[in-house]
Amino acid sequence: MNILVCISCVPDTTSKINFKEGNSSFDSQGVQFVINPNDEFGLTRAIWLQQKSGAKVTVVTVGDESCDPILIKCLAIGADQALRVNIQAKDGFQVASVLSTICKDKNYDLIITGRESIDYNGGMVGGILATLCEMPYLANCIHLEIDGKNVDLQREIDGGKESLKASLPVVIGAQKGLVEEKDLIIPNMRGIMQARQKPLEVISPNEIKPATEILTFKKPDEKGPVKLVDSDNIDELIKLLEIEAKVL
């Protein structure tokens, strides 16, 4: 079985977000980049399939050489090989289109994306990629079991979950629940050493035009200080919520 895991490099969750060039672009100065958390759940699930049934796991990212350390970390976690598409990612449509050209001649049985990337939160690459490749897509995937060609899946929905069946190939959008937080693999020394021997291929295909463009960024307005209410004056809090904030 061939598995492709799509990896988005995103600012660490503790990062303060800043912009530069007249608020027209993200300022990556001093920002630590990490594997998109949803992708990390997906990668862990892929490694389990590798360990259980000998699946071959390829990780791919669309981005410049600053993403290489993230791909090397994925190799240290256990992926067999890495691929970097040397294009500055402009939007989800472009990323998905570029990835679809790779998937078309590689015949992956399973393509794993994340539910969404925590930077632009598009939540679109998986669905667009799957549709371009004429494969079914399952968003918000919290369960995946494969038996031969048959796949059992679950999707988190608002207020519950949905169970589904499909046959390979499929594309999923991974999130917490697919594996648990405690299951995430932290690379050990052996993994880190092995990663150096594993292939990291860089390809530079033709540019594909994006479908959207971000013109400017803006940070939320500073908010005023908190209004503290004394702990034996709960009536005051209720009054404030009712009359001032008008939310009760």
């Binding site: 989800g92 669905g127 919290i142 988190e156 479908a211 959207t212 709960i234």
Partner: protein
């Protein structure tokens, strides 16, 4: 020219988010002089759309296929978009809306913009304000295609009534041939979900253990609120994953968010930034949440929350 709104329902009834999508699409239709076409599946109470400015509504009956099927739904809607020649399509930010939008965008060859938080600031090409970096920032996004799908963040526009005489029509269901099929839906009955809730009550590690969650549930009950939690609380299995709020969990865009025993880590706050009014109850005056909140009480949750619940109950009577 036309704008098309995907009106979501549950068990045959239009959801509040469905009415918000209609309200938002009506505002664009008025600004541009467009006709507003609505589409929904298996809807029983479509009459309500007369009050939300829909000009024409297609109800699509799915017959034997009773579950949400993303391929069939997007196929059916795309057929309708071609027939009506709609150039702007609006979907919600619910789990289903965000699932459907990207797939539909390929079928109709359009741009897709998610996390939209306001009306377009420009047209031809369309330009909208969106949230990004999990609500740590906003951006102004422009479509580079003639057609666009906008996924509106819930609670960012609200409901706006407008009376119209809506024409009710039947749409055609296009059954999918793809292998993916829903076999079972397991949804908590009668509980308010985080996505639909006006008020959310959230508990953190300060509550010490799952046995104390009646505090959160009782408060939520009296407020008609949904319950939520911080990440460690769901990681430890005190509460289900679906309640985990934050940068790596669910976003909350409620009118009121009450956090009990939650410290207010940056990853937690990222998920609740777009909630309108935030209240924190925490015994540590230095907890970072107090910097992000509108109202707060410094004190022991085990004393304050039951009192608050009692007082709210008394107020309701």
């Amino acid at each position: 020219m036309k704008i098309l709104a995907f009106i979501e329902s549950q068990d045959g009834n239009i959801k509040k988010t469905g009415l918000e999508i209609a309200s938002y699409a009506r505002a664009i239709a008025d600004e541009k002089g467009f006709e507003l076409v609505g589409v929904g599946f298996n809807i029983n109470n479509s009459k309500i759309l007369d009050s939300y400015g829909v000009d024409k509504f297609y109800n699509i009956e799915t017959k034997e296929d009773t579950f949400f099927n993303v391929e069939s739904y997007s196929g059916s809607i795309s057929q309708l978009i071609e027939k009506e020649k709609a150039s702007i399509i609006v979907v919600s930010s619910s789990a289903d809306g965000r699932y459907l939008g990207p797939i539909l965008s390929v079928k109709i060859n359009s741009a897709y913009i998610s996390n939209v938080v306001g009306l377009p600031t420009k047209y031809d090409p369309i330009q909208v304000k969106c949230s990004c970096f999990t609500n740590k920032a906003y951006n102004e996004s422009k479509s580079l295609k003639d057609r666009v799908i906008l996924s509106l963040s819930s609670n960012s526009f609200g409901l706006k009534e407008q009376n119209k005489t809506c024409e009710y029509l039947k749409g055609t269901y296009l059954s999918s041939t793809k292998s993916l099929k829903v076999t079972e839906v397991d949804r908590l009955k009668g509980e308010v979900t985080i996505a639909d809730a006006d008020i959310v009550v959230s508990g953190g590690r300060g509550l010490k253990g799952p046995e104390n969650w009646n505090l959160i549930e009782d408060l939520a009950d009296v407020l008609g609120a949904a319950t939520a939690c911080s990440k460690p609380v769901s990681d430890m299995g005190w509460r289900p994953h679906s309640e985990h709020v934050g940068q790596t969990g669910k976003p909350v865009a409620s009118n009121l968010y009450i956090a009990v025993g939650v410290s207010g880590a940056i990853q937690h706050l990222a998920g609740i930034n777009s909630s309108k009014v935030k209240v924190v109850i925490n015994n540590d005056p230095e907890a970072p949440f107090f910097k992000a909140a509108d109202y707060g009480i410094v004190g022991d949750a085990f004393e304050i929350v039951p009192k608050l619940t009692e007082k709210l109950k008394a107020r309701k009577l």
